[in-house]
């Protein structure tokens, strides 16, 4: 069996190529079967990998197929690693991926680019699995870039619209900034450890003691974290994720909620033994996470677009995960990845079902009363909402509670931020539910034509709903009498032979904290629900009362406008002006009319260098040579 494990990532790649080449000819049914089947097969293989891993010594199975790069002292194997962490994540990716594939069949059935869509989607699954299973950082990076590319292609999928391609580009470029951090971090790690293979890296890290002050390791981990903020949409690089909702809804569910965006958390967990050594980085991560969780939640309060609400909610939940990681609760952070994958995929697919039913209407203010028209969607989304708000017993409850508890141990302020964020989450989720499913229909035409989605779409919803309800029981925290099985399960990956940092799990008022946060969340949820159950009146009254606040939140703190105004516009301006600089300074300035050029400089700093006049080019060459001479003589 072990010999076939390489098929896990390669099957989706193969089918992606097949669908891309032959999909149009083969027809939609065949395409659908192949696409869903391949991901299901990957899921099955992942299950067998899981059992093999369980039997392996140290719960770690490292398969090296061949040497990929050998450059000087750097040797990068092409191989896969199966340990609790990667197996769990691979199961999530392929399992939830299969469900979303199935859902997509229904959702995209009428779309012209059916084959193209599945080719991209399967390519994404391939890269994601490479990211998860890769046994070295460069291989992980290949997956990292690959999922970025697929995300770009899928966000821009509806290229007839203006904003979709722009959103895709934004996502890709924001991620490139993060990637720079990632590459820098990789280089620093290589300089320090002399290897980029996960196993060697972590083994070597295991022999070190925590770094005091700001050293190479702190630099490397911080850089890695910058990479993670890009992919996982943390402050300040979160801007791309809300725009990414321009893609088809199942894509939002798979890539921008359940899997790709959690790659940053996965990266930190993968290198957990390293991050353990750098308290400064952990503190930074915790604060960035908490700030993102709170910040994004506030924006979620006033959004009208159902997908935007969920997008900001995702950003906020990712913040929680980082908060957990920063509080050294790597298992807790990953646990939230796990539960979040269930309930956020569910919520997105539910939202997709609503949008589908409403003929691509995404405005919450035009929905209402859909409870009776879409019963399955309603009930499953209700479960998702209960899960995300942290209703006792549902999955979000356990994972969020564990994170908040660890945050409290690190700093009560972090805990407070987390709790406020949780309250707001509860509020906007109930607002969403109330606006969409309760009250009077506000757009009668759309309402009359609304209909429940086909089975291919509702089946995944139901499976995900069951998962959302139950996933939390995997890791019942010790405070509630459980054993936090997730932590024990992941321990081999996260500690990697290190002594497990004594968790000190019985300190502090765990139950009390949980009670406070849960009660508050329930209260806020009720407030949100009753404010909007009967329509928009109360909400509008509130908006009228605090117009400024409402406007700021509705406009997402004007971050995009600020970026445009203060970052992008100057860059564009510089790019255009740079053109003219050399001409004015060099040609007209020195050659013809220095005073005139100086006057022009103040207004219009730069003109074209590339004047098309050959003598100017020769002059530039001469001046360049003189400049070189000057550099030397100085």
């Amino acid at each position: 069996m072990q010999t076939y494990l390489w098929l896990i990532p390669l099957l989706p790649l193969l089918t992606s190529a097949l669908i891309g080449l032959l999909g149009k000819r083969a027809g939609k049914p065949v395409t659908a079967v192949v696409a869903v089947g391949s991901v299901l097969a990957s899921f099955a293989l992942s299950l067998s990998a899981y059992s093999l891993m369980k039997a392996a010594p140290g719960f770690r199975l490292e398969l090296t197929y061949f040497e990929w790069m050998h450059v000087g002292s750097l040797s990068v194997p092409m191989g896969l690693v199966f340990d609790p962490l990667s197996c769990a994540m691979a199961l999530v990716v392929s399992g939830i991926g299969a469900l979303i594939h199935l859902y997509s069949v229904g959702y995209m059935w009428k779309d012209e680019g059916f084959a193209r869509y599945f080719a991209y989607l399967n390519l994404f699954v391939f890269f994601m699995l490479t990211l998860v299973l890769g046994s070295s950082l460069p291989l992980l990076f290949v997956g990292w870039e690959g999922v970025g590319l697929c995300s770009y292609l899928l966000i821009g999928y509806y290229f007839e619209t203006d904003y979709a391609p722009a959103a895709g580009l934004k996502a890709f470029l924001t991620n490139r900034i993060g990637d720079l951090g990632m590459v820098a971090g990789m280089m620093a790690l290589f300089a320090y450890f002399g290897t980029l293979t996960m196993g060697d890296l972590l083994t070597k890290a295991g022999h070190l003691s925590p770094e005091v002050g700001f050293g190479v390791l702190t630099f490397a981990t911080l850089m890695m974290f910058i990479g993670a903020t890009g992919k996982s949409a943390q402050l300040p690089l979160y801007v791309w994720l809300p725009d990414a909702m321009a893609g088809p809804t199942p894509v939002s569910a798979l890539i921008h909620a359940a899997t790709m965006v959690t790659a940053g958390i996965l990266l930190v967990c993968r290198l957990a033994p390293l991050f353990q050594l750098t308290p400064i980085t952990l503190t930074v991560i915790a604060w960035v996470g908490a700030a993102t969780a709170l910040f994004a939640a506030t924006i979620g309060l006033c959004q009208r677009d159902i997908k935007k609400v969920l997008a900001y909610s995702t950003v906020s939940q990712l913040g929680y995960m980082f908060l957990g990681l920063g509080a050294a609760g790597f298992a807790a952070g990953f646990f939230h990845v796990f539960t979040h994958a269930w309930f956020k995929a569910l919520l997105f697919l539910g939202a997709g079902s609503v949008i589908h039913a409403m003929h691509h209407e995404q405005d919450l203010f035009k929905m209402g009363g859909l409870r009776k028209k879409l019963p399955i969607t309603f009930w499953t989304m209700l479960i998702g909402t209960l899960a995300i708000m942290g209703f006792p017993g549902f999955s979000g409850f356990f994972s969020k509670d564990e994170i908040l508890y660890l945050a409290y141990l690190k700093s009560p302020v972090l805990w407070l931020m987390g709790v406020i964020g949780a309250c707001l989450t509860s509020f906007y989720m109930w607002r969403l539910m109330a606006l969409a499913f309760w009250g009077e229909p506000r757009d009668h035409h759309a309402y009359d034509h609304a209909h429940e989605s086909p089975l291919t779409m509702t089946l995944p919803l139901m499976v995900l709903a069951v998962g959302s309800a139950l996933a939390g029981w995997w890791g019942v925290p010790e405070a509630f009498g459980g054993h936090f099985n997730v932590g024990q399960f992941l321990a081999p990956s996260l500690t990697f032979g290190q002594l497990h940092g004594a968790h000190g799990h019985h300190e502090g008022p765990a139950i009390l904290l949980a009670a406070i946060s849960t009660a508050l969340a329930l209260g806020f949820g009720a407030w949100g629900f009753f404010s909007y159950r009967n329509g928009l009146a109360i909400g509008e009254a509130r908006a009228a009362k605090w117009p400024t606040l409402h406007r700021i939140l509705e406009n997402k703190y004007y971050v995009d406008e600020g970026m445009e105004r203060f970052i992008l516009a100057p860059i564009r301006w510089l790019g255009q002006k740079l053109w003219r600089v050399v001409d004015v300074i060099v040609i007209d300035g020195l050659g013809v009319n220095l005073p005139g050029a100086l006057a022009g400089l103040s207004g219009d700093v730069i003109a074209t260098t590339q004047t098309g006049r050959v003598r100017n080019y020769a002059l530039a060459m001469t001046l360049g040579a003189l400049a070189l001479l000057w550099i030397f003589l100085k």
Binding site: W68, M69, V142, Y152, P165, I177, W579, Q610, Y617, L628
Partner: protein
């Protein structure tokens, strides 16, 4: 007659080193006269086949040439020579294939076109093996003079002639500077030698009052090379020349002379000026940095794909100068060779598509790629592969060679520049992706696209396949690089 005998003996001994280029020169001469008399006016395209075969044969001869040094230390066949000769010949072969659609469409098939490509390739083959400033200078000029003419080849098109004029004027200017630099170095040795190895010893021993002479000489040689590889601020000819030249010649210019000049660059600075590397390291680092920044920034705003590729090639040269800065002809040569090989793949793929879409030579704007993904999904995908590889996105080979080059630079301690290279290559993603976005996310214009000729299709298939799977054979590729460049 001892003199005559020794002449004949040394000729017999040394000529095998030059069989490749000599064969090209003689074959090309015979093609022009009397060969061309035999071919009717309408059958001139037959010369493309002849030229292809001749070039392939010449390349094979060079590849199997014995290793060694000859012509009184003027020429040397070693791994570096063969490696870069291989690149030049490959680029020449690709160019001949790429030339067909346009030359046929414009009815501009002549024997001279192919003969000039052969002459110029012969110049490159000599250039990369030159171990003396004299032989280096003349082979450089042989290469350049032919390309000036090729750029202005479409003499009925205004922009082709203008491009040729600009390239020629500035080329003559830079060649004057280069030669003057050589003469200064010659003077610095007291008029004794221009041989690179001897120069290296002599220059290191130069008396203090010769320092300025040495430095000025090195600097002027540097300017000459920087011009040939189009490094900022000696790059200004390249966007204009690239845009105006017939597109296959643009492809040729961005691949073959660049490879040859970089090979010679590494050899001259790595062996000839190795002893005085302290003096030229800083200037080159400025050239490299400026090229990366300006090349990438300027490419952002381009509307014409040819100009975009010209600016991006300036940036790529900036990266490759990192290899020159290794001051080690062997290691730097390897890194540059690998980079150049992958660059050649991506460029020829991109140009194959551009030439196909161009038809008679019009339509090179990025806008002309609108909706290509709809009209020709396979072509668009191939372009995507080439562009992403140019942007250095893993796991394509462009990433691999870039990684290798940057790693070398870091090992050599050029941290700042490497960081700059990383930053600017992030900028590069902008404009490459802009093209991708145009292909994938914009509405296609009306009209049918004609099917691609088999020559272009073959080149495209092979390059894309190599770009896609290249990294899988990373270690093999490196072994191969080492084997070739070490000889």
């Amino acid at each position: 007659m001892p003199f005559a005998q020794s002449l004949l003996e040394s000729l017999g001994r040394d000529l095998p080193y030059l069989y490749g280029p000599l064969f090209l020169v003689f074959a090309a001469t015979l093609m022009i006269w009397p060969g061309d008399l035999l071919v009717g006016r309408t059958n001139k395209r037959a010369w493309s086949y002849v030229a292809f075969l001749v070039l392939a044969a010449g390349g094979a001869m060079a590849l199997y040439a014995p290793l060694g040094q000859g012509f009184s230390g003027m020429f040397r066949v070693d791994g570096l020579t063969k490696g870069f000769q291989f690149l030049s010949v490959l680029a020449g072969l690709i160019t001949i294939v790429l030339s067909q659609p346009q030359l046929n469409a414009l009815r501009e098939q002549t024997v001279e076109y192919y003969a000039l490509i052969l002459f110029s390739t012969a110049g490159m083959m000599l250039l990369v093996g030159a171990t003396d400033l004299v032989s280096m200078y003349f082979s450089l000029e042989l290469m350049a003079l032919c390309i000036y003419v090729l750029v202005a080849y479409l003499r009925h098109q205004e922009r082709s002639v203008e491009a040729g004029m600009k390239y020629f004027m500035l080329g003559a200017f830079s060649s004057g500077i280069l030669l003057y630099g050589i003469s200064l170095l010659f003077a610095a040795t007291g008029g004794l030698t221009t041989n690179l190895a001897e120069l290296n010893e002599k220059l290191a021993l130069a008396t203090p009052n010769h320092t300025l002479l040495v430095f000025a000489g090195v600097l002027m040689v540097l300017v000459g090379f920087a011009f040939k590889v189009a490094a900022v601020p000696f790059h200004m000819w390249s966007p204009d020349a690239y845009e105006g030249a017939p597109t296959p010649i643009t492809a040729f210019m961005s691949m073959a002379p660049k490879a040859a000049a970089l090979g010679a660059f590494v050899r001259v600075f790595g062996t000839g000026f190795h002893g005085v590397s302290g003096e030229w390291m800083l200037p080159i680092s400025f050239l490299a940095g400026a090229s990366m920044v300006l090349g990438n920034v300027a490419a952002l705003r381009q509307q014409s794909l040819k100009r975009l590729l010209a600016y991006s090639s300036i940036a790529h040269v900036g990266y490759m100068l990192l290899g020159v800065m290794s001051a080690d002809a062997q290691a730097g040569g390897q890194a540059i060779w690998l980079y150049m090989l992958t660059y050649l793949l991506m460029q020829s793929g991109a140009f194959a598509i551009l030439i196909h879409l161009q038809g008679k030579g019009e339509g090179e704007r990025i806008d002309d790629f609108r909706g290509l993904a709809r009209r020709r999904p396979v072509l668009a995908f191939a372009m995507l592969v080439c562009l992403l590889s140019l942007a250095g996105i893993p796991p394509l080979v462009g990433f691999f060679s870039k990684f290798y080059l940057f790693k070398l630079a870091i090992e050599q301690g050029h941290i700042t520049l490497t960081v700059l290279a990383l930053l600017t290559s992030a900028v590069a993603a902008f404009y490459y992706l802009n093209v991708v976005a145009t292909m994938y996310f914009k509405e296609a214009p009306e009209g049918e696209l004609k099917p691609m000729g088999s020559g272009l299709a073959l080149i495209l298939t092979v390059t894309c396949a190599l770009i896609l799977v290249g990294t899988l054979f990373g270690p093999k590729l490196l072994d191969w690089t080492a084997k070739i460049t070490l000889g």
